[in-house]
């Protein structure tokens, strides 16, 4: 699904893995024209990540890659060579936006920085997504998703008190950095000024996600700790519990919701004990015991039954859904988009999370094969002849 809010915007992406590719995907899904640049012969490392259809690995069939790079055109370019960097400059001269996630050390080595690139286009908006940002003592530090989650404050609060802190089940930090970069790019365009944008992935978590924690800590409020499936200082219940066919989130921040929930459970005797009168005390001191009482009832009901009860009685119950249940939720069917490729058949993945009434919607185009649009971009856009294209290929530039 592609909207047209950003129609006419030309974007060049030099991206690996999640962050810069998801940023360019957001722009592409809004109608921007995105050219994705990859290393000749190798390509984006998401191509090796998988998962692969039928568990048959192939660098054109990685699920993560196909999802993150739909709606883009693909070219290959070797930036290790002066000719490659010249071609990048020519392409940027005809674009408004450049987004990349080269490591700062690589930026230095290849002179991929705003000072050099803006010589080709002084109105260029360039976003650099790097692990720790382009300034500060950790500038040159290396990081993968778990490191960014660790420094950004995710791990500290996830897990049991006496065991190791956990991270996300699938890499997530890159998505948050991507959203920061994509909005910043459009904001810079609105301001009408070519400029460089420095986005640190770790700050996508340490800032907008976990930022308020510092002031909470100053006031000794609800510090994030590893407290298993319970959270401290909330009114009970605010946790994931077992039910007949899996797990269910049970919450009741409002008193009337808890009352209603007890009513649905048949007003059990245990709930009348005076020590359970204060629900925050119940949570902080008796949570394990109360889990047992509540689960005894929950285990008689399936996720689907509990969701129906939640809708009927307006109590906050929500099934912990596995990915098959998410994918097969009919109410989400129109978020999923399918592309057809000769080699894989139709593949579906999640499209944009917004509905924009009145917008022209065009069907998605599949992610590019490695270097698929070299001729379109280098010959038709930049004016190279077919002979020159062959020479660029033979010499490993593209």
């Amino acid at each position: 699904m592609t909207y047209s809010l950003l129609q006419g915007l030309r974007v060049v992406e030099l991206g690996e893995s999640v962050s810069a590719p998801y940023c360019a995907k957001l722009l592409a899904d809004m109608g921007a024209e995105v050219i994705k640049m990859e290393r000749p012969g190798v390509g984006d490392q998401a191509r090796e990540y998988g998962p692969f259809p039928g568990d048959e690995p192939h660098h054109e069939r990685s699920g993560l890659f196909l999802y993150l790079n739909a709606n883009k055109q693909g070219v290959t370019l070797d930036l290790e060579t002066p000719t490659g960097r010249e071609i990048l400059g020519d392409l940027l001269a005809q674009s408004q936006v450049f987004v990349h996630n080269l490591h700062p050390k690589e930026m230095d080595r290849l002179s991929v920085d705003y000072e050099h690139l803006s010589k080709h286009n002084e109105q260029l908006v360039m976003a650099s997504i790097t692990p720790f940002g382009l300034t500060g003592p950790y500038r040159n530090y290396k990081a993968y998703d778990i490191n960014l989650a660790a420094a950004g404050g995710i791990c500290e609060g996830l897990g049991s008190p006496d065991r190791e802190p956990l991270t996300f089940g699938t890499p997530q930090v890159g998505y948050f950095a991507a959203m920061a970069a994509a909005s910043s790019i459009v904001i810079a365009l609105l301001a009408g000024s070519g400029q460089h944008i420095d986005i640190a992935e770790v700050e996508a978590m340490a800032g907008i996600y976990n930022g308020p924690e510092a002031l909470m800590a100053v006031y000794q409020w609800r510090m994030t700790r590893r407290t298993g499936h319970h959270a401290l200082d909330f009114p009970y219940p605010n946790c994931i519990l077992r039910c007949k066919d899996g797990y269910i989130f049970v919450g009741s921040p409002e008193g009337r919701q808890w009352k209603k929930f007890l009513e649905i459970m048949g007003d059990p005797e245990w709930a009348k004990e005076p020590r359970f009168r204060n629900r925050t005390t119940m949570n902080n001191e008796y949570a394990d015991e109360v889990d047992g009482y509540v689960e005894e009832w929950l285990l008689k009901h399936t996720k689907a039954e509990l969701l129906d009860l939640a809708l009927e009685h307006r109590v906050p119950l929500a099934p912990v859904r596995n990915f098959d249940e998410v994918r097969n939720d009919e109410s989400l069917a129109d978020q999923f988009v399918a592309v057809d490729r000769s080699d894989t058949g139709p593949i579906s993945f999640a499209g944009p999370p917004y509905k924009l009434p009145g917008q022209a919607v065009s069907p998605p185009r599949p992610a590019p094969f490695l270097g698929q649009h070299n001729a379109d971009i280098y010959c038709e856009r930049l004016g190279y002849t077919k002979e020159e294209l062959v020479k660029l290929y033979q010499t490993g530039i593209i």
């Binding site: 990081a143 996830l158 998505y175 948050f176 810079a188 924690e213 002031l215 006031y219 978020q335 999640a350």
Partner: protein
Amino acid sequence: MNDRVSAQENEQDQNTPEGPLSGYRVLDFGWVLAGALPGMILADMGAEVLKVETHQRMDYMRLGRPIVGDEPDPEQHPLFHNVNRGKLSITLNTTKPEAVELAKKLVAHCDVVIENFSPGVMDRIGLGYEVLSAIKPGIVMASISSNGQSGPLRDLRAYAPSIGALAGLDSTLGYDGERPLGLKHAYADISGALHSVFAVVSALRQCKQTGQGQYIDLSMLRATVATMGAGLMEYEMTGRVMGTKGNHDPVMAPYGNYPCQGEDAWVSIAVRTDEEWRGLTEGMDNPPWCDEEKFASRYSRLENRRELDDKLAEWTRQRPPEDITELLQSHGVAAIPVMGAEDRLFNPHFRARGLYSDIEHPSLGAEPIYNIMWNLERTPPSIRRHAPLMGEHNGQIFGGLLGVAEREIAQLEEEQVLW
């Protein structure tokens, strides 16, 4: 009192560079977290953001136990101070028709309207998109909700953890094969807010070019689903359903949080390439176990990752996380301590980057408030003022912007219209 506060503000404004969205005005009905964040970001970017509040139903984030004294005080909530900084506050009790009319008059002066009430509420009080776009055709209106403005889950009572559960996020959070755990923070609220900011600014660009307005229906569930990338694709490609798997990564080993010297001290280490593996072994001063065949390739390290984790933990356990970080990073290995809020507040890197600014709040004095860290180098965002006191700007907005006479404002306050 009001005069003095606004004089201070003007002074502050002069010292703060204009943001990239200076000149834009936002009518912000957003509340709690998901609804408050977009306005906060737009305010940091220089837009004038009018937070519309009412005593009739106070923003939950103004409620809670006070920091100072024993009485409830809507001006003391640390989360509120963070996510509403930079905004101006006006009170409008939309159960009164006069208040709805005033809101409409304000819309004529605004570029963006944000709201996250239950679906249907804005229509019911007479401030739906149809009405607003008739007043101002170019208006961009974002409605943020848990499960969208239509569909079978529309009216489900849902909070951030509900959405983490429904989106599949929680199904992957937990120790290997054990029960799923929830996140401590409102992942879905933040993902929803960030996706809506992107949609809003994209719509503003369209409006700038064509004059066309836009309605945005943002579902936090869909926003969370949109970033479930590899997990959803696993099912699509193989039919397998991912469950909890601890800190295991499909292509990297070692990959985890390892115990260190010190109380509850941990360091995260991740190794992808052979070059990084050599860096790690050198950093550890080449212990003999590193030469064993079972750790010789990326493949065998993944195969034997549990044993590898144990060996590595024996080494990390004898050192503080900061030392390990410095040593391993100098060998080109991704390592960083597991940090808490205070660690970040006092960390030299985050201090150098300016993660926090001290913002003076009238109720509680100087407080560390986080910056959004979207570093547009020529037109940087900044925190323009402390979170507003409730109704602090009624005079400035209804008087200054709409030209309502001072005594009329007093009367409207008396009649609980501005309330």
